[in-house]
């Protein structure tokens, strides 16, 4: 007999019995239990297995400090791994299985690994699996690594609520000090939020005999009521898992098993840290045997769950705070034997459960060993916020030192373990005054690991890190605590140093012969407790994660059976119709070349640049000269980065000397807007230049092909479309059906083209009219895939596809501006650099394949015949339906000077002979373009 349920006591509802199964066996519990308390009440000792040696593990602590009882839980068809049993409320019908054990925690088949522990010390795999090749062993090791396994099931409704909130005062921890701080602040009229990770507030109050002369439970109830009456907000079941910049505190609010937690991003003007303290394990021989527990945890099991964790309990404690816990256990009927660790080394006996304890050769029977090696204030959040820690020799603990901005620690978190003092600190902090830690009655005898002592002594229960591992790490010069942590895995994963760190630091200090503060601590990082990844995105996922931009004509494209694909953040028609995709795209390309094609160009940027300095400004941000651009005219140009690299290509339209439209690439609109805005405010007079993104206000329908002029004419716009009157690269502003209309004669295909823009609400009417007219001329809608072929046939580039992060304008054949432009422009200086003028720069070329050869693979490397050194790569390749043979564009070293040279395209081990040529395969003289 070990743990049992007491006849009375605890916060459980004894009228609400619940059922659970653990490793296949049925047990019972009550509402208000955790999984761990229910198992202990049923006498279950072995609740899990350690990570490496698969040693049997029992419950260590009653709350977040328990590293051992990690479960896979199934309930109502929902399965979750790595559920901490000590903090998860029991629900009826839970099917619980220990992680890292099979077929059960009690009879784990891998338990035999412990026999090989001499060869499996810290870092063994770094040394053992080097020869012949780590990768031979890696799959098996990866398979063994980790704890629980994620279920294959997808729970669509498991979506975490994400809330931004703010308060004047955030009190973290609802124990006595936190409660009084919260009440005081609320009664001063401040907006206060009090969070506690338990189902209700109270904290350590439950273990007190009386608080301020009152029954502890009644005192807690009264404080909470007064706090709420003063307007305070209580969030229970809520853990503050991290503190970030600008007083941002991450909170996780739990709603029971299987329900996604809510994540709060709470901004607090000031923070009161009342997170309490944890019992430290005592490092002694066999201190990992099931039945070895935290003394404070054992007392918690009595007061919260009415569970006495053992019958004959040996208490190994070195500090004054232990007396309160011992009194609780004594009052619950436990038979207690005190063992003073100062009198000699202690050894725990037993393997699958505590069978006794010995000291100085005298062995005593005990079924449970309760340890308290001193209290460690929970200062994780303090460190997240950048607060300093001071070592306190009297308390043998790190305490909050220099405060981070607007954060104060009170009570046990501040090293104030005396109740009266803690209440005083809480009240002071609640009132917004600074807290001064007073002298303490708390005292203890230092009790730290002793290197060289006999027996296996555990420091990290979850990861099987022993004192010998720390000693070995020191011998191998991993003396920095950060190295120690990574070499041994001490304090990693769920524990996050709550039980393991202090013993580990002390052991390293002892090995080196220095003091603990000289060793220091590892970096405290969020999260304080394990948190589902789901909690960090919530609804910000799937189609709400980077949603595409939608065209005003999308419904019409859908009605026309368009395949909608993502192009540069926009959902645009790729092609139309059902059937063979390649054939459909080829048909559209041929239709546009022979008759007329219509495509939706609404996504093209339409950024208005206005003001007295607009022209000079655009001349500055463009590589090309803009000062000579006249109203009604267009100019193709490049925007460069300061490094001289092509950032965007587009067309500038001059509406008036003080008003321009920048038509940039669809995918670059947001970036170009930022680029323009940045340069407007840097080096230019922002009061004489204004930039508006009007892209969304307008829709653009592009008509291209030999019949384009006839189609536009059929619309009946008041505009002379004759080639002499409306030349290539000019613009007309007119009206259509009473509304404003812009027609730009500009081409991205190499054929006569007109980009017709109307306000977005008129787009559907325009599209339908244009499509109807196009049909009359043997044409119709074409998608972006066909457009991409047409532009490549002509040698028109797509920035980002036919350029890379080093491409400069002269690499694309645009030499003139940098040779002729006299005024400064963005990227100017970089174009004069040695790098910019290397002859070996990658330049845009075309590639011709041999007659009858297949199209090249996009991405194929260009190499010399028989060579292996890449000269460049293919950026685009397609079997041109217009020309009847494959075409390709490529970036090749010194490509502009290699036209006619035979090279090879290398792809996945195969080679294909190709000839470098000019990057224009269609209408090189421009007759069709200007027709």
């Amino acid at each position: 007999m070990t743990g049992r349920r007491l006849a009375s006591g605890g916060l459980i509802d004894r009228k609400a019995p619940l059922r659970l199964r653990f490793d296949g066996r049925p047990y019972g519990g009550f509402a208000g239990d955790t999984i761990a308390s229910a198992l202990l009440a049923n006498g279950v000792r072995i609740v899990g297995r350690s990570f490496k040696y698969h040693r049997p593990r029992g419950v260590w602590g009653a709350w977040v400090d328990d590293p051992n009882a990690m479960m896979t839980v199934r309930l109502n068809g929902r399965e979750m791994p790595n559920v901490p049993a000590a903090t998860t409320p029991l629900e009826d019908g839970m099917d619980v299985r220990a992680v890292n054990a099979w077929p059960s925690a009690k009879y784990d088949v891998k338990g035999g690994l412990d026999l090989f522990h001499r060869w499996l010390g810290a870092g063994f795999y770094y040394k053992t699996f080097i020869w012949p090749d780590w990768h031979l062993f890696e799959p098996a090791i990866r398979k063994m690594a980790g704890l629980g396994h994620v279920s294959d099931a997808v729970y669509d409704d498991y979506v975490s609520d994400q809330v931004n909130a703010a308060c004047d005062v955030l009190v973290i921890g609802g124990g006595p000090a936190g409660l009084i701080a919260a009440r005081t602040a609320a009664e001063r009229g401040e907006a206060v939020t009090l969070v506690d990770d338990h189902p209700d507030v109270g904290g350590s109050a439950l273990q007190e005999v009386a608080i301020a002369g009152a029954d502890p439970a009644k005192w807690v109830t009264a404080q909470k009521a007064a706090f709420v009456a003063a307007g305070g907000q209580v969030l229970v079941g809520t853990t503050a898992y991290g503190v970030y910049d600008h007083q941002l505190v991450g909170l996780i609010q739990q709603f029971g098993f299987g329900a996604a937690p809510r994540r709060w991003r709470m901004r607090a003007r000031r923070i009161v840290l009342a997170t309490g303290a944890l019992d430290r394990p005592v490092t002694c021989a066999n201190n990992d045997v099931p039945g070895v527990m935290s003394l404070q945890g054992a007392a918690d099991f009595v007061t919260r769950y009415g569970v006495l964790v053992g019958q004959r309990m040996a208490v190994v404690a070195n500090n004054a705070a232990a007396e309160r816990a011992v009194a609780v256990l004594d009052g619950a009927g436990g038979r207690i034997r005190r063992v003073d660790p100062a009198k000699g080394a202690v050894t725990v006996h037993g393997r699958r459960g505590v069978a006794g304890i010995s000291q100085k050769g005298t062995r005593r029977y005990a079924d449970t060993v309760l340890m308290s090696g001193g209290l460690t204030p929970l200062v994780h959040l303090w460190r997240h916020a950048g607060g300093k820690l001071d070592w306190c020799p009297d308390r043998q603990a790190y305490l909050p030192g220099k405060s981070p901005v607007d954060m104060v620690a009170v009570g046990a978190a501040n090293g104030t373990f005396d109740l009266e003092q803690a209440l005083e600190e809480g009240q002071t902090a609640g009132a917004g005054r600074s807290v001064t830690r007073g002298p303490t009655d708390y005292h203890l005898t230092p009790l730290w690991p002793k290197p060289g002592s006999a027996g296996r002594q555990w420091i990290d229960f979850q990861h099987d890190v022993t004192l010998k591992d720390v000693e070995m790490a020191a011998r191998e010069n991993y003396v920095s605590v950060e190295h120690l942590k990574r070499y041994t895995t001490l304090g990693m994963a769920a524990d996050q140093g709550k039980t393991a760190n202090m013993a580990g630091l002390a052991a390293m200090a002892s090995v080196q012969g220095v003091s603990i503060p000289e060793v220091g601590t590892t970096t405290f990082r969020p999260p304080f407790v394990p948190i589902p990844i789901e909690a960090f995105h919530g609804q910000h996922a799937k189609t709400q994660w980077a949603p595409v931009k939608r065209l005003p004509l999308e419904d019409l494209h859908r009605a026309a059976d368009a395949a909608l694909c993502e192009y540069g953040g926009w959902l645009r028609p790729g092609w139309y119709g059902q059937g063979d995709q390649t054939a459909l795209i080829a048909q559209e390309a041929v239709m546009a070349r022979t008759h007329v094609g219509v495509f939706d160009g609404s996504s093209l940027g339409k950024i208005a640049v206005m003001g007295p300095d607009a022209k000079a400004f655009l001349n500055f941000v463009y590589y090309n000269t803009i000062t000579t651009l006249k109203p009604g005219h267009l100019r193709y140009g490049f925007m460069l980065t300061e490094g001289g690299v092509v950032y965007d290509d587009g067309v500038v339209a001059c509406l008036s000397p003080e008003s321009y439209i920048v038509s940039c690439s669809s995918s670059h609109t947001d970036g170009v807007l930022r680029h323009l805005e940045a340069w407007r405010q840097d080096g230019n007079d922002p009061d004489r230049i204004f930039v508006h993104d009007t892209t969304q206000a307008w829709a653009t329908v592009t008509v291209t092909g030999p019949k384009a002029r006839e189609v536009v004419a059929a619309l009946g716009v008041a505009c002379d479309l004759d080639k002499a009157a409306f030349a290539h690269m000019t613009l007309r502003e007119t009206t259509w059906q009473g509304d404003a209309l812009r027609i730009a004669r500009v081409s991205f295909t190499g054929d006569v083209s007109f980009e017709i823009s109307v306000t977005a609400s008129k787009a559907a009417a325009l599209w339908e009219a244009v499509i109807a007219a196009a049909r009359d001329h043997g044409g119709g809608a074409i998608g972006l895939e066909a457009v991409s072929i047409l532009r490549a046939e002509k040698g028109y580039i797509m920035v980002g596809k036919d350029t890379d992060g080093e491409t400069m304008p002269h690499d694309l054949g645009f030499w003139a501006p940098r040779q002729k432009k006299t005024t400064a422009f963005v990227g100017d200086r970089s174009l004069r650099s040695e790098n910019a003028n290397r002859t070996s720069r990658k330049m845009l070329v075309g590639l011709r394949v041999q007659d009858g050869a297949a199209a090249l693979a996009t991405g194929a490397h260009v190499v010399l015949p028989g060579g292996e050194v890449s000269l460049g790569y293919v950026t685009f390749s397609y079997d041109s339906p217009t020309l009847g043979h494959p075409i390709a564009l490529a970036l090749v070293d010194n490509g502009a000077n290699r036209h006619g040279e035979g090279v090879e395209a290398w792809h996945m081990g195969s080679r294909q002979s190709v000839t470098i040529c000019a990057p224009c395969f269609y209408d090189a003289e421009g007759e069709k373009l200007h027709a």
Binding site: R267, R550, P552, E554, W570, F690, A697
Partner: protein
């Protein structure tokens, strides 16, 4: 390329009005939205009698919303020609078709918005520009404390509506 037409809900499948409990989100049709930039647009250059900021509400049908020190969005204001107005020294762009407008109303409407933005009444702002659910939105109160108006780029309207619908679901079923 991959045909993703079924991945994204068609624009026509979005309802113009969504109600969850006491929360209502409804698309609005405004007669005119005009983006005006200039040095004096905030200083009574004749654009509107009221320049709305956060958290104070807009009143009436016609007003201007402060976006930046030199930029406002005029709502149902005078009809102004696009381009540079040399006399008023301001740049004008008609954005009536550029922004889709939603009103969100209900006693917990602010909580819906707090699902998508770090926004409280305690931090005022002269600018109504916000990053809401990762989208650039012009956001302000209109008519009273529990009604909010959002102007979002037309291309992002479905994204905002989807995010608002999700957030309304959370607030609507929130027990505490």
């Amino acid at each position: 390329m991959r045909d993703d037409r079924n991945k994204w809900r068609a624009p026509s499948a979005f309802s113009n009005k969504v109600t969850v409990g006491a929360l209502t989100m409804a698309q609005q049709t405004l007669a005119r939205q005009t983006l005006v930039s200039g040095v004096r647009v905030h200083a009574g250059a004749g654009v509107a009698s009221q320049v709305v900021s956060w958290p104070d509400p807009a009143h009436g049908d016609s007003y201007a919303v402060g976006l930046r020190r030199d930029q406002v969005l005029m709502v149902n204001g005078l009809s102004l020609p696009d381009g540079w107005d040399a006399q008023a020294r301001q740049a004008v762009s008609d954005m009536t078709d550029g922004f889709v407008v939603y009103d969100l109303s209900g006693p917990r409407a602010l909580q819906v918005l707090q699902r998508g933005a770090d926004i409280t009444d305690g931090v005022p702002s002269a600018s109504a520009l916000r990053r809401l659910f990762g989208l650039d939105v012009v956001l302000y109160r209109i008519g009273g404390p529990d009604r909010f108006r959002m102007h979002v780029e037309r291309a992002r309207a479905q994204a905002l509506q989807e995010a608002l619908e999700s957030a309304m679901g959370f607030v609507g079923r929130k027990a505490d």
